[in-house]
Structure formats: C-alpha cells, structure tokens
C-alpha cells in the first residue's frame, strides 16, 4: 500500500477495562463504527499514528508523480500524453486531499514537506524503481494503482472522518488510473513481438515490487493489531496481497503474459493462488533509502520545492500588496 509499516507506539492493545473513561468512550464509539472528527478527543497514539499514515500516504502520491512524469514528454501519441497528464495531475490532487486530512490532526503542511525533503518521512517503496519503457507506464497503472485500490477501498471506512472522506474522492478517481494502464498494455500486446516482449519485461520488473507494496506479513505485529482496533486499518497485509494476486493473475493471462513466479499455482481448496515470497531484504533496503531511485526522487522533490521558492514568494508579496492597497482605499473612502 502507499503507507507501509506504520508504527503506533503501542506495546500491546489495551482492553476496554484497562482504559480510562475518556479513552473507553472513544474506543466504544470506534467499535460502533462512528466517525471521529478533528476537534474531538482522541488518544495521543491514535493521532500520531494517523499523522504518520496519512502523511506517508500523501508523500507517496506526490513522489508517485515522478516515475510517470518521466514519460509525459515521450508518450507515443498526443492522446496518450493528455491522458497521462490527467493521471499525474490526479496524483497531485490526491496528495493535496491527504495533506489537508493530516493537517486537521495538528501537523502543518510545511512540517510535512520538511520531513519528506529531509528524508525523515517515508513514502511507498514502489516509487523508487525506474520507468525504463512505455510499457512501464502501463504496468504502473495496472499493478501499482491496482494494489493501491485494493488498500484504499477499505480505508474509505476508516474511523477518522477526514481521512475516510479523502479516500472516497481518491477511490472514485483511481479506477480511471488502473484502466488507462491496462489499456496501454492491451494495445502493446497486440503490437509487434518487440512490443509484446517489452510488456513482459515490464511485468517481470514490477510484479514483485507491487506485491511488496502491501508490506511484510503483519499477522504478529502489535502495530497492525492496534491500527485494526482503532479501525485505521481493516485488513492484514497478507489478506490484501492474496486478494491482489487472485485478481491480477487472470488479467495477466488475458494479456498473454507469464507472471514471473515459479511457485504461482491455483489452490482449489482455498479458492485462491499459492505464490512465492517477495524478497524482503530488497524491500527493507529500498525502505531504508537504498533503492535504485531513492536519491533521484528526493533530489527531484527538493529541486521542485527550492526552484519554486521565488514564485511562492512572489505570490505572497502580491497578496500582501493587494491587501494593503484595499486597506488604504478603504481608509481614503471613509
């Protein structure tokens, strides 16, 4: 997902009996499926966990523009270019909805930017892989946005109102992203053998990183248990990964592609696929900042922020000057 391995500060999940009255009332409201709104009382751990998760999610949307932005100027047709532009613009919008949701918890936008630019904040590991061919743009829409949808649909029922509402908007738009990706690949597999090979190569490179998006197994994780008790998280990582594989394998078959996993096999008994284990060492390496594109992504974000400073300052100066002029005109008129 877009927020991987979010910590909760919890040592273990408290039972209702162990809670102070205020916290018990809060937990009971969450259990009943009520939404928690910004100004209401909430446990400090809940607030901090949400800030971590929502800001990670927002950073992922923003950094996620970069691998795709790489192909805007090289899209094969004007139509594809317009579609990709609209898709990347949506990602910027998703980042903005999410930053706003995080701000309702008392963190400022500048603080979050600072955490991203300094390398302190995390974003999804998936965006640290390069986009080498046009087929990668198709694969990202199909697999990466597909995995994101898997995770974001249940988040619409998250206990925190502003996050849940942002997710509703995002999910509405996400389906266009996945379809446009699959559409690119449908076209390419009907093309020349070289084009079809390009699609297979893209799947080979994106398959495992896509499975890693859900994060390592968290069945034994206290953070995951706490997040679930707070209804910030609804499904375990393994559950969502299984759903993703079950949904995606037939789509790969339709394209005539081979999923690069020798252990992949239909399991009649469980009604789903058995599949291999992603390389978690690679995952932890990428999360730690050592993936193929981590440095490049952060440099691009910092450059965009720094190079835009004069423009932001200009707009601020204009706003101040205009406000001053309005005030002066008002005094003159009185």
């Amino acid at each position: 997902m877009y927020a991987q391995m979010v910590k909760t500060d919890a040592a273990r999940v408290k039972s209702l009996d162990e809670m102070e009255p205020q916290e018990r009332t809060f937990q009971e409201r969450v259990d009943q499926g009520q939404k928690i709104e910004p100004k209401e009382w909430m446990p400090e751990g809940y607030r901090k966990t949400l800030i971590r998760q929502i800001s990670q999610h927002a950073h992922s949307e923003i950094v996620g523009q970069l691998p795709e932005g790489n192909w805007i100027t090289r899209a094969p047709t004007l139509e594809r270019k317009a579609i990709l532009l609209a898709k990347v613009q949506d990602e910027a919008g998703h980042g903005l909805y999410l930053y706003c949701a995080a701000e309702t918890l008392g963190v400022s936008r500048d603080e979050m930017y600072e955490q991203l630019h300094s390398g302190k904040a995390k974003y999804s590991s998936i965006f640290n892989y390069p986009t080498l061919t046009w087929a990668d743009i198709g694969a990202i829409g199909w697999l990466v946005d597909g995995a994101a949808i898997m995770n974001q649909v249940p988040l619409q029922r998250c206990s925190y109102g502003p996050y849940a509402r942002a997710m509703v908007r995002i999910c509405k738009e996400e389906s266009f992203h996945q379809r446009q990706g699959y559409d690119i690949l449908m076209k390419m597999v009907k093309g020349t053998p070289a084009q079809k090979a390009m699609v297979q190569d893209a799947l080979n490179r994106w398959w495992w990183p896509s499975l890693m998006m859900f994060g390592p197994s968290d069945d034994a994780s206290v953070h995951s248990a706490q997040s679930m008790a707070w209804k910030i998280k609804q499904n375990s990582n393994d559950e969502l990964r299984q759903k993703f594989v079950d949904q995606t394998v037939p789509q790969a078959e339709y394209l005539g592609l081979t999923v690069p996993d020798p252990d992949l096999k239909w399991n009649e008994e469980k009604g789903g696929y058995d599949f291999g284990e992603p390389d978690w060492e690679e995952f932890f390496n990428v999360i730690a900042g050592n993936g193929p594109c981590n440095a490049e992504r952060l440099d691009a974000r910092r450059k965009a922020w720094d190079d835009g400073a004069w423009f932001r300052d200009g707009l601020t100066a204009h706003a101040e000057k205009a406000a001053g002029r309005r005030a002066a005109a008002k005094i003159a008129a009185e």
């Binding site: 709104e37 949506d90 903005l96 500048d110 509402r165 908007r169 707009l315 601020t316 204009h318 706003a319």
Partner: protein, 94 residues
C-alpha cells in the same frame, strides 16, 4: 524561508441546483488563487458550477463538548415531525 500560505475551506455548488457543500481545504496566498487552486483540485471532473472559498481562520465552529447543550433540547420535541400526528386514512393525503 517564506511563511506558510493560509488555509482556505472550499465549498462547491454541484450541477443540480443544490447548496454549496464543503469539499475540503487548500493553501493559497489570497482568495483569487484559492479559487484557481480549488478549480484544479476539486473540480477536475465537472463536479461544480460555482466555488466559494473562505479562510479557515474565519470559521467559528461549535465545540464537540457542547454537543449536548446545543442539540439535546430539540430531541424531546417530537411534535415537530409530521409523523407525530395520526391522520385517518379517510382524510386522504396530507
């Protein structure tokens, strides 16, 4: 470093003659830019025909802790709802 732009709350009137509805918020240096940004962030798919923006700092909200004193008094006044009154079927639609 320059200071953070103020936060604006965005209200959009949808296509069907409904009230403006709160859709979210954004940062902008002034009202004009807030409208421009709201257009790009919240109406990329024809979601609206009109936009209001208002500085978040200018909104006064009721406190969650006052929910009881504010809203409880109307709970007991069930006669404000038409279903409180039984009208015999013979009277017809009313």
């Amino acid at each position: 470093m320059s200071s953070e732009w103020p936060l604006w709350e965005v209200f959009i009137r949808g296509q069907h003659g409904l009230n403006h509805r709160h859709v979210g918020s954004l940062h902008a240096p002034d009202a004009e830019m807030a409208i421009n940004n709201a257009r790009d962030v919240y109406t990329r798919r024809n979601e609206g025909v009109s936009i209001w923006v208002v500085r978040s700092a200018d909104i006064t909200a009721s406190a969650p802790s006052e929910k009881g004193p504010l809203f409880d008094p109307s709970n007991s006044k069930v006669y404000r709802h038409p279903t409180f009154f039984d009208i015999p079927d013979e009277v017809g639609h009313m």
